[in-house]
C-alpha cells in the first residue's frame, strides 16, 4: 500500500474512533439516567413520584426493604415552572425590547458599546448573579415581605431574568439584524414611520429568531442551579406567594446528592430525568419554531393581518418605542449594578494574602489553592474535550454522507446533550468518574465530568465553523492532487480556526463559570493546596458559593467574586480579540 493511503486510513480511523468515544459518552449518559432511575421509579411508582406532594426522604431506605420516607417532586415541578415563567417575564420581555432598542433605536456609537457589553455579560458565572441576589436583592425585597425574608419566586425571577438577559438580547438582536434592509425600506417607501416599519415589518419578520432566543432562555432557566439555590429559600413548598420559600428541581438534586442514601439517590437521578423531559420538550419546541418558516406561509400571514389590525388600533408602535427605551434602560441598570456591586465590594477586599497566601487554617483563608485548582481543571478538561470534540466534528462533517440517518441521530443526540442541565452531568460524574478514581472526589473526576459536559458544545460549534468553509476551497485542494487528510489539515481546519479558537476559549469560560458539576465530583470544602490531581479541590466558583453561604467570610466572598468576574471577562475579551485577529489574518488586508 502507498504511504499516502496508510496515512488516509490512519486518520479516518482516528476520527471515527473519537466520534465513537463521543457517541459512547452520549449513550452512557442516557443509559446511566435510565438505568439508575428505573429502580427508583419502580420502587416509588412513577405517578407517585411525579405527582406526589410530599418529599421526606429517608437516607436509610433501600430497594430491598419497605420505604419509610416519601418521595414526591410535584411541588418542585411547580416551583421550576413558576421560576421559569417568572424569569421569562423579566428576562424575555426586557431582552426582546432591549434588542429592538439596540438594533433600531439607538445611536451607532452606543450600539457598539451595547454589543460588546452584552457579549461579555453572557459569560458571567451564575454564582455571581446568585451572590448579587443574595446580598442586594434579598435585603431590598425583605422590606416588602411579611416574614422579613425576600427569598421566593420574585427574587428568583429577577435573578434568573437578569442572568438570561444577555443571551436573549444577543440572539434576538442577531435575528433582527438579519432581516433584509429591503423589508424596512419597502415599508418606509409606503409611507410608514420608522416605528411602524420596525414594529410592523422588521420585528415580525424576525419572529422565529426572537422566539428561539426566548426558548433558549427558558432552557437556561430550567437548568440553572446555583443562582436559584442562593435566593429561593429552598423549603419544599408550593410557590404560593412572591416571598414564599420554595424549591426547584435542580436545587433538590444539588442539596441532597452529597449525603443521599440508596433510594434517595435513585430519586435524585429520577429528578434529573424529569428535568431532562422538560429540556426535551423545550428542544422540540425550539425545533418546531425554527422549522416553522417553511410551513404554511399563508396562515401565518392571515394571523399577522389580524395582529397588525389590532396593533393599528392601539398604536402599538408608539408604545413599543417607549417600551424599548425603558427596557434598555432597566436592562442596562440591572447588569451594570451587578458589575458595580462586584467591583465596589470586591476591590477593597482584595489582598495579597487572600490571593496568593498559603492556606493553613480557616482563619488565614486564601483562594490561591482554588485558583490553581481552576487552572488545572481547565487544562485537563480541555485536553480531553477539545481533541475528541474537534475530531468528532471533522468526522461528522467531512467523512459521513450528507443526509445519513445515523449521523442525523447522532446530531440530535448531541443537541439534546448540549441542553442538559449541568446538575445532571454532576450526577453522572458522581456515579462514574468519582467511583472510578478511587471512590472519592478529585480534581481528575471533576475535570472528566466537565469535559463530558463541554463535548456537545465543542462538537456543535466546530461543526458550524467547518460547515462555513466553502466547498470551493476543498475542490481547489483536491484539484491540485491533495488527499483528504492533507485537505483537512492544510485548508479546511486553518479556515475554520477562528471559530474553533473561540469555541475553545468559551469552553474555558464555562469551566471557570460552572459550579454545580464540581460540588460533588471535585470537592466543595475550601482546602489547602492539592498535591496531585487525585486530591479534591474547589474551583473559584465553588469557593465563592461556599464563602457566600457562610456568614463569616463575606469579605473574602466579595473579593473572590471580583477575581472570578475578571477572569471570565478577560477570557471573553480574549475570545473576541483572537477570533477577530485570526479572521483578519485569513482575509488579508483589503486595499
Amino acid at each position: 500500500m502507498e504511504r499516502s493511503d496508510v496515512k488516509e486510513k490512519f486518520y479516518k480511523i482516528l476520527f471515527a474512533f473519537t466520534a465513537i468515544i463521543c457517541i459512547i459518552a452520549v449513550i452512557a449518559i442516557f443509559v446511566f439516567l435510565i438505568a439508575r432511575s428505573i429502580p427508583a421509579f419502580g420502587k416509588i411508582g412513577f405517578f407517585e413520584f411525579v405527582f406526589g406532594k410530599d418529599w421526606y426522604p429517608d437516607y436509610r431506605d433501600t430497594y430491598d426493604g419497605e420505604l419509610s420516607g416519601s418521595y414526591g417532586v410535584f411541588k418542585m415541578i411547580v416551583g421550576t415552572l413558576a421560576a421559569t415563567c417568572g424569569s421569562i417575564i423579566v428576562g424575555g420581555v426586557l431582552g426582546v425590547f432591549t434588542a429592538v432598542f439596540i438594533s433600531k433605536f439607538c445611536h451607532k456609537r452606543l450600539k457598539k458599546v451595547f454589543d460588546v457589553v452584552i457579549n461579555l455579560l453572557a459569560g458571567v458565572p451564575s454564582v455571581i448573579f446568585g451572590f448579587f441576589g443574595m446580598k442586594v436583592l434579598l435585603p431590598m425585597l425583605g422590606v416588602f415581605a411579611d416574614n422579613g425574608s425576600g427569598s421566593g419566586v420574585l427574587a428568583v425571577s429577577l435573578v434568573l431574568g437578569l442572568m438570561i438577559l444577555p443571551t436573549v438580547v444577543s440572539l434576538s438582536k442577531t435575528s433582527i439584524d438579519a432581516v433584509p434592509d429591503s423589508y424596512y425600506e419597502g415599508a418606509r417607501a409606503l409611507g410608514a414611520t420608522h416605528e411602524q416599519a420596525v414594529f410592523g415589518t422588521v420585528v415580525p419578520a424576525a419572529k422565529s429568531g426572537i422566539t428561539a432566543s426566548i426558548i433558549l432562555g427558558i432552557g437556561r432557566s430550567i437548568g440553572e442551579t446555583m443562582a436559584v439555590i442562593m435566593v429561593a429559600g429552598n423549603a419544599v413548598n408550593y410557590p404560593t406567594g412572591l416571598f414564599r420559600s420554595f424549591r426547584v428541581l435542580t436545587a433538590n438534586v444539588v442539596m441532597e446528592m452529597g449525603y443521599a442514601g440508596e433510594v434517595q439517590l435513585g430519586a435524585l437521578i429520577a429528578t434529573g430525568v424529569v428535568l431532562l423531559i422538560f429540556i426535551f420538550f423545550v428542544n422540540v419546541l425550539l425545533g418546531l419554531v425554527t422549522n416553522k418558516k417553511k410551513k404554511d406561509r399563508a396562515s401565518i400571514k392571515r394571523k399577522n393581518a389580524f395582529l397588525s389590525e389590532l396593533a393599528h388600533k392601539i398604536k402599538i408602535e408608539k408604545i413599543g418605542r417607549i417600551f424599548s427605551y425603558i427596557a434598555a434602560g432597566v436592562a442596562a441598570a440591572g447588569l451594570v449594578s451587578i458589575i458595580a456591586f462586584v467591583c465596589i465590594k470586591g476591590i477593597p477586599n482584595l489582598s495579597a494574602k487572600l490571593l496568593f497566601g498559603k492556606f493553613e487554617t480557616l482563619s488565614t483563608i486564601s483562594i490561591f489553592p482554588s485558583i490553581v485548582a481552576t487552572l488545572i481543571t481547565i487544562v485537563i478538561s480541555l485536553l480531553i474535550a477539545i481533541p475528541v470534540g474537534v475530531f468528532t466534528a471533522i468526522f461528522l462533517n467531512e467523512y459521513t454522507k450528507k443526509g445519513s440517518k445515523l449521523v442525523k441521530a447522532i446530531r440530535s443526540a448531541i443537541d439534546v446533550l448540549s441542553g442538559i442541565p449541568s446538575i445532571v452531568y454532576a450526577l453522572f460524574g458522581m456515579v462514574t468518574f468519582v467511583v472510578f478514581f478511587g471512590n472519592k472526589t478529585s480534581i481528575l473526576a471533576g475535570s472528566c465530568t466537565v469535559a463530558v459536559m463541554l463535548l456537545p458544545t465543542v462538537v456543535k460549534s466546530t461543526e458550524e465553523s467547518l460547515k462555513s468553509v466553502s466547498d470551493s476551497l476543498r475542490e481547489g485542494s483536491y484539484a491540485l492532487g491533495a488527499g483528504k487528510v492533507r485537505t483537512i489539515f492544510k485548508v479546511v481546519l486553518p479556515s475554520a480556526l477562528p471559530g474553533i479558537m473561540s469555541a475553545i476559549i468559551l469552553s474555558m469560560g464555562r469551566v471557570v463559570a460552572e459550579s454545580a458539576p464540581f460540588m460533588y465530583t471535585m470537592g466543595s470544602t475550601l482546602s489547602p493546596m492539592p498535591n496531585s490531581v487525585l486530591d479534591s479541590g474547589t474551583t473559584l466558583a465553588v469557593a465563592l458559593y461556599k464563602l457566600a453561604g457562610e456568614g463569616r467570610y463575606v469579605d473574602q466572598a466579595y473579593a473572590t467574586a471580583f477575581v472570578l468576574l475578571v477572569i471570565v471577562l478577560a477570557l471573553n475579551v480574549l475570545a473576541q480579540v483572537l477570533s477577530n485577529k485570526l479572521d483578519k489574518k485569513l482575509k488579508g488586508r483589503k486595499k
Binding site: R3, S4, A479, L480, A482, K490, P494, G588
Partner: protein, 262 residues
C-alpha cells in the same frame, strides 16, 4: 519510499485526451449521452453550449472531480495519452497532472507564496530553495511575478478578483501539469482581467493542453483552436473553431451561435 515516488512519476500521462462513448448519470438524471471526442495536445479547446448542457460536467470527468459528487456514475473510456484514467490510476496523481481552474477564484486563506507552493508541497517537496524556484517560475508563467514579488507573504484573499484567478492559475501551474482545465475562468471577472487571462492561455498552450468551458462565444472565437458545442448532454458539433462559427454543419449549432437560444 523514495523509490515508490519515482515509480509513481513513471506513470506517463500524455497531453491529448481521447474519450469514447462517455455517459454520466447524477442519480437518475442522465447528464451526458454517448459523448466521444479527441482533444489534441497543446491546443486550446473550448466547450460551449447553453447552461445545463453538460459541458462543465464533461470537463470535470478529465480530472475525476465528479468522483466527489454523490450519486454520480460514469461509463465509457477516458484516456489521457495512453493511460485509462478510470482504470487503476491514482486519482491524486491524475489531478497533479491535470490541473484545474474554477469558475470563481478560490485561493486558499493563506499567503500568496503558500498558495502557489501548495501543490509542490503535496508532492513532498520541502526544500526552500526548490520551492522558491517553483513559486517564482509559476508566478512568472502566470505573468504575475512583477506585481506580486514584493507581497508573497501577504494573504491571497487581499488580492483583486482578477489577480486571485491568475494566482489560481499559477497555483495550478506549480504542480507542473500536462493539461489545464478551465471551468468558465473569466465569468466572474471584469473585461480587463478577462483579457489578461486570455493572453495567458495563449501563452500557456505552447507547453500545455488547455480545455476551457466558456459561456462567452467571443472568447471561444478569440482563443480556441477547436470548439465543441454541447446541447442537453450531447456533443452536437466539434471541429476547427473558425469552421464551427462560420459554417456550422448542424442547424442547432447555428441557432445557438446566432443567438436564437441559450
Amino acid at each position: 519510499m523514495k523509490n515508490k515516488r519515482k515509480e509513481e512519476k513513471q506513470t506517463e500521462f500524455g497531453q491529448n485526451i481521447s474519450v469514447k462513448n462517455a455517459e454520466l448519470w447524477y442519480g437518475d438524471f442522465k447528464a451526458l449521452k454517448n459523448v466521444s471526442i479527441e482533444i489534441p495536445e497543446r491546443k486550446i479547446t473550448a466547450f460551449i453550449g447553453p447552461s445545463g448542457c453538460g459541458k462543465s460536467t464533461f470537463l470535470k470527468c478529465f480530472n475525476r472531480m465528479n468522483n466527489l459528487v454523490e450519486g454520480c456514475r460514469i461509463t465509457g473510456e477516458f484516456r489521457i495519452g495512453d493511460v485509462d484514467i478510470y482504470g487503476k490510476t491514482d486519482v491524486n496523481l491524475l489531478r497533479r497532472n491535470v490541473g484545474m481552474v474554477f469558475q470563481k477564484p478560490n485561493p486558499f486563506p493563506m499567503s500568496v507564496y503558500d498558495n502557489v507552493a501548495y501543490g509542490p508541497r503535496t508532492l513532498g517537496i520541502k526544500k526552500h530553495a526548490e520551492l522558491d524556484e517553483i513559486v517564482e517560475k509559476s508566478l512568472r508563467g502566470a505573468s504575475m511575478w512583477e506585481e506580486l514579488k514584493d507581497r508573497l507573504g501577504k494573504s491571497a484573499l487581499g488580492l483583486s478578483g482578477g489577480q486571485q484567478q491568475r494566482l489560481c492559475i499559477a497555483r495550478a501551474l506549480a504542480a507542473n501539469p500536462k493539461i489545464l482545465l478551465m471551468d468558465e475562468p473569466t465569468s466572474a471577472l471584469d473585461p480587463i482581467s478577462t483579457g489578461k487571462i486570455e493572453e495567458l492561455a495563449e501563452e500557456l498552450k505552447k507547453e500545455i493542453t488547455i480545455v476551457i468551458v466558456t459561456h462567452n462565444m467571443q472568447q471561444a472565437t478569440r482563443i480556441a483552436d477547436e470548439t465543441a458545442f454541447f446541447l442537453l448532454g450531447e456533443l452536437i458539433e466539434y471541429g476547427d473553431t473558425e469552421k464551427v462559427f462560420s459554417a456550422p454543419a448542424d442547424k442547432r449549432t447555428e441557432n445557438y451561435i446566432t443567438g436564437r437560444f441559450g
